[in-house]
C-alpha cells in the first residue's frame, strides 16, 4: 500500500522539490505515492525493472529509451528527486505563471528543455548530434519489422537532408529546433497534472 509513503516524505524535501520543479504540494505527495507503489523493492529508488513492470510502457515502442531518460549517466537507480526532475519536463508551460522567480533560471518545462528531452531520446551517445545511425535506430524501434532496411534507410536520409543545414550529415540541437519550430511542442510534450 502506498499509504504510509506520504509520512516518509519530509516537509523540507517537499519544499525543495517544489522550488526545483514547480509542482504543487498535493501533486508532489500524490506522485510520491505513485513512486512508492512502483518501488517494489521498497528501497527508496526505482530500477529499470520497476518501470518495465508497467504494461502500457512495456508495449510502447520507445519504452526503453523513455526509461533510460530517467536514469542519470551510468546509474541503475533513480531516487524520488531524480524522478520528479524528469517528470517536471512534462509540466504544462502555463503553470509557470505563478512562480516567476528571475533567479531560478530556465524552468525545467520550458520549450527548450522539452525539445532537449526529446533530442536526447535520439542522441544515445550524448555527443549533441543525431547521426544517421542513431536516427535509424529510433526509426527501427518505432516500426519494428514492418519496413525494409532500404526503405528505412531512405527515410532516414531524407529526414537528415531536410534538417541538415551545415552539411555534416547529422542533426545538431539547433537544427533540431529549427525543424520543429512550427510544431506545438508545449502541447505535445505536456501532461495535464491535476491539482
Amino acid at each position: 500500500m502506498g499509504s504510509r509513503a506520504s509520512s516518509l516524505l519530509r516537509e523540507e524535501d517537499i519544499e525543495e522539490i517544489k522550488k526545483e520543479t514547480g509542482f504543487s504540494h498535493s501533486q508532489i505527495t500524490r506522485l510520491y505515492s505513485r513512486f512508492h507503489s512502483l518501488d517494489k523493492g521498497e528501497n527508496g529508488a526505482l530500477s529499470r525493472e520497476d518501470f518495465q513492470r508497467i504494461p502500457e510502457l512495456a508495449i510502447n515502442p520507445l519504452g526503453d529509451r523513455i526509461i533510460n531518460a530517467f536514469f542519470p549517466e551510468g546509474e541503475d537507480q533513480v531516487n524520488f528527486r531524480g524522478f520528479m526532475r524528469t517528470l517536471a519536463h512534462f509540466r504544462p508551460v502555463e503553470d509557470n505563471e505563478k512562480n516567476k522567480d528571475p533567479n531560478s533560471g530556465e524552468p525545467l518545462n520550458s520549450r527548450n528543455n522539452k525539445l532537449l528531452f526529446a533530442f536526447r531520446l535520439y542522441d544515445l551517445d550524448r555527443d549533441d548530434k543525431i547521426s544517421r545511425d542513431e536516427l535509424l535506430q529510433v526509426l527501427r524501434m518505432m516500426v519494428g519489422v514492418n519496413i525494409s532496411d532500404e526503405q528505412l534507410g531512405s527515410i532516414a536520409d531524407r529526414t537528415i537532408q531536410e534538417a541538415d543545414t551545415n552539411g555534416d550529415m547529422s542533426i545538431s540541437f539547433s537544427e533540431f529546433i529549427k525543424v520543429l519550430e512550427k510544431v506545438d511542442v508545449e502541447q505535445k510534450m505536456s501532461i495535464r497534472f491535476l491539482h
Partner: protein, 466 residues
C-alpha cells in the same frame, strides 16, 4: 495458605464454566441456529450502521485536526493524478500529416516521437493496470491502522477510539469468528462425509444442498459478512455455468451461501484436500489434478460433461484467473465460454469502507489473509445476479467473454479493462508492442497509397491503445 486458595479456585472455575456456557449458548442462539435455518436477526446490519457513523465521525475529526494545524490532509488519488487525452495515438500522428499535402513517399516527422514519449511518461505516472493489483485507497478512515495515511492528525480522542477498536476486534471479534470458522468447516466435513454414505438419489442431493448451505452460512457469519443479493430471480440453474469477478477466496463463500454450486479447482493437499474430498462425497464437484490443468481439452471435456447432465449443479468459475482489487474487471479467459451452454453472470462489489477484501496473493499467504479478514470490522458486499446469456450466432468465444465481462462491469460499477489479470505476475506479451509498431508503419507508409485525408473517429472505448 492452601485452604485460602481452594475456595477461590473453585469460584474461579465456576465463573469460567458459566461464562463459557453463556458464550456458547449465545453463539448457538444468535448465530448458529439462524444460520441453519437461513434467517437473520438483523444484528449485523445494526452493527454496520453504527460502524459507519463512527467512521464518519473519525474522518471529520481528522479533517478538523489537520485544519487546526494548517496542514493538508493527504487525499488518495482516487480522482487520478493526470488527465489523459481521449484522442488515440494513431489519430494524433495522423493529424500532423493531414496538415500538409500527402507526400509521394513515406514522411517521417521528427515530432512523431513526442506522442510516443508523452504517452510513455503518462503511463509511468498513472497506468490502468498496476493499480488494480494493490488495495484500493479510501477517502474516509475506518479505524484500521493498515489504511490510515494521516497519522499525525489523530487527536487523543481518536486514539482512544482506535484503541477500543483494536480491543474489540482482536479480543472479542477474532476469537468469536475463529470459533465459528472452525465450527463451519468442521460441520461441512462431517456432514458431507455422512451424506456421502447414502445411495445416490433425491434424498442425498437435497440433504447435501441443505448441509452445504448451512455450513456456508456459518462461515459467512464467521466473517461478519453482510451481503445484499439483488435480482435473485436470475439465480443460476442446473446445466449452466456461473461466472463472477474475482476479488478474494471469500467470493466462493459469499456465492455458495445463497445457492448450490459445483466448484472447480485444483486438488490441494492438507486441510484443503480433506475438505475437497469430503465435499466430493456428497455432490459432484470438479477437482483437477495439477497435471490435468495444463490439458485444455481435458478441462473443457470434463466441464461440458458436467454441464450436459441436468441433474448436476451449476459450475462456479472465476474467468479472470486471479484476484483483482475490485475496482475493475480484467480479461476473461475464454475457456469457460467455449463450452456452449448458458452463462449466468454475477457481479460482486465489496464496500471498501469496512475493510479491504482484496487478496494480494503476492504479498500475503492465505492464512495471513484470512486472519486479516477476521480481525477487521467485517465484509459488506453486494451481489447482483444478471440475466443469463448465451453465445450468439457468429460470435466467437472471445467476443462472448467480452460481452459478459462488460455486463458484469457495468452492473457492479467497475472499470472494464482488456488487460489480462495475469499481468500481476507475468510480463506483457510482445505481440502488443508489435501491434503498436505495425500501426505506426502503416501511418508512415499509408499516406502515399491514400491521397484522401483520414476520417476523424472518436474512439473513447479503446482502452488498450497507448
Amino acid at each position: 495458605m492452601e485452604s485460602y486458595l481452594f475456595p477461590f479456585d473453585g469460584l474461579l472455575c465456576m465463573l469460567l464454566g458459566i461464562s463459557f456456557t453463556l458464550w456458547f449458548t449465545l453463539l448457538l442462539i444468535f448465530i448458529i441456529v439462524p444460520a441453519v435455518f437461513g434467517v437473520s436477526f438483523g444484528i449485523r446490519r445494526l452493527y454496520m450502521k453504527s460502524l459507519l457513523k463512527i467512521f464518519e465521525w473519525a474522518t471529520l475529526r481528522m479533517e478538523r485536526g489537520a485544519r487546526e494545524k494548517n496542514q493538508q490532509l493527504y487525499k488518495p488519488y482516487s480522482n487520478g493524478i493526470i488527465a489523459k487525452e481521449l484522442v488515440s495515438l494513431e489519430q494524433e500522428i495522423q493529424e500532423v500529416r493531414r496538415s500538409g499535402i500527402p507526400a509521394p513517399e513515406p514522411e517521417f516527422d521528427m515530432s512523431d516521437i513526442f506522442s510516443f514519449c508523452r504517452r510513455g511518461v503518462e503511463s509511468i505516472v498513472d497506468d490502468e493496470v498496476t493499480k488494480r493489483f494493490t488495495a484500493e485507497e479510501l477517502e474516509s478512515w475506518n479505524l484500521l491502522t493498515r489504511s490510515n495515511y494521516n497519522f499525525h492528525h489523530i487527536s487523543t480522542r481518536l486514539t482512544v477510539l482506535w484503541g477500543v477498536g483494536v480491543l474489540v476486534r482482536y479480543a472479542i471479534l477474532l476469537p468469536l469468528r475463529v470459533t465459528l470458522a472452525f465450527t463451519g468447516v468442521g460441520l461441512l466435513v462431517v456432514l458431507t462425509s455422512l451424506i456421502g454414505l447414502l445411495p445416490n438419489g433425491w434424498v442425498k442431493s437435497s440433504l447435501s444442498e441443505k448441509a452445504h448451505l448451512m455450513c456456508y452460512r456459518i462461515c459467512v457469519r464467521a466473517l461478519t459478512a453482510i451481503i445484499t443479493y439483488h435480482d435473485s430471480e436470475n439465480k443460476p440453474k442446473n446445466g449452466g455455468i456461473c461466472v463472477a469477478n474475482h476479488t478474494s477466496p471469500i467470493d466462493v463463500i459469499i456465492l455458495a451461501s445463497d445457492g448450490c454450486y459445483a466448484m472447480v479447482g485444483q486438488v490441494h493437499g492438507g486441510l484443503m484436500g480433506v475438505i475437497q474430498r469430503a465435499m466430493l462425497k456428497a455432490c459432484p464437484h470438479i477437482w483437477f489434478e495439477r497435471s490435468e490443468v495444463k490439458d485444455r481439452h481435458l478441462v473443457a471435456k470434463r466441464l461440458s460433461d458436467h454441464v450436459a447432465d441436468k441433474t448436476k449443479l451449476p459450475i462456479l468459475i472465476f474467468p479472470e484467473g486471479t484476484c483483482i482489487n475490485n475496482t475493475s474487471v480484467m480479461m476473461f479467459k475464454k475457456g469457460s465460454f467455449e463450452i456452449g451452454c448458458t452463462v449466468y453472470p454475477v457481479a460482486i462489489k465489496y464496500d471498501p469502507r469496512f475493510g479491504d477484501a482484496f487478496w494480494n496473493s503476492s504479498k500475503f499467504g492465505m492464512v495471513n489473509y484470512l486472519l486479516h479478514m477476521m480481525s477487521s470490522w467485517g465484509v459488506v458486499c453486494s451481489v447482483w445476479y444478471l440475466p443469463p446469456m448465451r453465445r450468439e450466432e457468429g460470435e466467437d468465444a472471445v467476443q462472448f467473454a467480452n460481452r459478459v465481462k462488460a455486463a458484469i462491469a457495468r452492473k457492479g460499477g467497475l472499470a472494464d479493462l482488456l488487460w489480462d489479470g495475469g499481468l500481476k505476475r507475468e510480463k506483457v506479451k510482445k505481440v502488443f508492442k508489435e501491434e503498436q509498431q505495425k500501426m505506426y508503419s502503416k501511418v508512415l507508409v499509408g499516406v502515399s497509397e491514400d491521397s484522401r485525408p483520414f476520417p476523424v473517429r472518436r474512439t473513447s472505448h479503446n482502452r488498450q491503445q497507448v
